[in-house]
Assembly symmetry: C2
Homo-oligomer: 241 residues x 2
DNA sequence: ATTTGCAGACCGCCGGTCGGTTTGCAAGAG
DNA sequence: CTCTTGCAAACCGACCGGCGGTCTGCAAAT
């Protein structure tokens, strides 16, 4: 008799454990290439045990997605409930939720996370995640823009559409960021870094112009972002002796 | 012995036939849910026959994608080779490649095509297709913008990044368009139509501002676009007697 | 006779099902 | 307070249908 010994656990704990294993595996192997059996092995659970808690592999995916979105939304609620700051300050906070999150947690890990999420095999995962974030962020951003319009700070034709456009724009740098990350340590790194900076600048500039603000208003930087990103270690550094 | 009779065909013809069947099935059932066997049945070919022409299911997908991108690229080549028009006219032609294509072919069919492509199950298909179009369109758009900058018409900080942003922006209306299409015939149709018009206007306005043009410059409309789209028949009209 | 196009049995694997087994726990009997 | 007893929740793992892909062989074309 090997480790055939079973180990009952309260449902929530099991669920959490399975979700944790699934998340790791989804990131490392991609959703499609991750087998239920992979999850079972990592969690030391049987098929029956798994299907007692999840009714399908897709439900597992949605569970992981929910867990990821939770962190984002909890921070957004803080911004949404702020009634005293100006619209521009709120926008500042809103835009920097992501950057702040990255800075406060270990950034290299986040870079790797971003890199893995943007692989082809994780396209479904990433796109679904983006959709959830957009859906959750819309009402918050709409309120901010509406407030800015009421204050006379912003000028847009349609608040909803503007919010949607800004959220749409918010992933523009991802392409350049991904290329920069993949170019780390190669001879094209400098060029990619320049283009990344250009993409960031252009994204902020476009944000200014969409909201009818003077150029440069929303360039609430984190100037060292590009350098920090490029300094992150690639998966396989040359020092393998 | 049923229709076990075999039917040899020249390789290109078979390939085209299989690609045609695959395209239809991919659109109707989605890529993941389409079985090789489905394609075999529709084309009346055996597994061996199929794998004689394609080495995997993915290669079949890429084949379909190539076929779809071909039409787009052939039109873009025309714009790219135009050396006489002004940058603004070139941009006009470039932006309207899609709209012109839609108008010249049967529009209702294109609407249905768009609707199907934007279903969740076709996410991989759509995203890969968008990527191909972006890749093919980049050099053309870069040339146009560069020309505009040389002429002094456009003002951008970085030509490549501006081109990328504009291509990125070009799919912004898709969300509103999809919602409008799905709202046809329902009580929310009017609202969706308004939002679609707002999205179109905002996309053009943003294009102006990204390129440093006066507001309204690039609003080379097709003013009846929204009405025509909304007038398209939904899949199941009420007159089924 | 040789090459090319094709047929269809076959393989390994995956997501999902199902009947049965184990475990924790609460209620009643002593 | 302890010891059955009962039962639902948690879990196991053999099993199934169907998938993408391989392989051997044969028939048509040249």
């Amino acid at each position: 008799m090997k480790s055939t010994k079973r180990k009952n656990m309260p449902p929530e704990e099991r669920r959490a454990q399975l979700l944790g294993c699934a998340q790791m595996l989804f990131f490392s192997k991609g959703f499609e290439d991750t087998t239920i059996q992979d999850v079972l092995d990592m969690a030391s659970v049987s098929k029956g045990g798994f299907y007692h808690h999840f009714k399908s592999k897709d439900e597992l995916l949605f569970g992981v997605l929910d867990g990821m979105a939770e962190g984002v939304f909890s921070q957004m609620a803080v911004v949404a409930s702020d009634g005293t700051s100006s619209a521009l300050d709120l926008l500042h906070s809103f835009i920097h939720l992501r950057a702040n999150y990255l800075r406060e947690h270990d950034y290299p890990g986040q870079v790797e996370f971003f890199r893995v999420m943007n692989q082809d095999k994780n396209m479904v995962l990433l796109e679904q995640f983006k959709r959830r974030v957009r859906t959750g962020a819309m009402p918050v951003l709409v309120r901010i823009i509406q407030k800015g319009c009421d204050e006379g700070t912003f000028t847009v034709a349609d608040v909803d559409t503007a919010a949607e456009l800004i959220l749409f724009l918010s992933t523009f740098i991802d392409l350049a960021l991904l290329r920069a990350i993949e170019a780390r340590g190669t001879e094209t790194a400098d060029h990619a870094a320049e283009k990344l900076q250009a993409a960031i600048d252009m994204q902020f500039l476009t944000l200014d112009r969409v909201l009818g603000l003077p150029d440069g208003t929303t360039n609430f930087g984190w100037p060292e972002a590009v350098d920090v990103t490029m300094a992150t270690q690639p998966p396989l550094p040359p020092s393998s002796n």
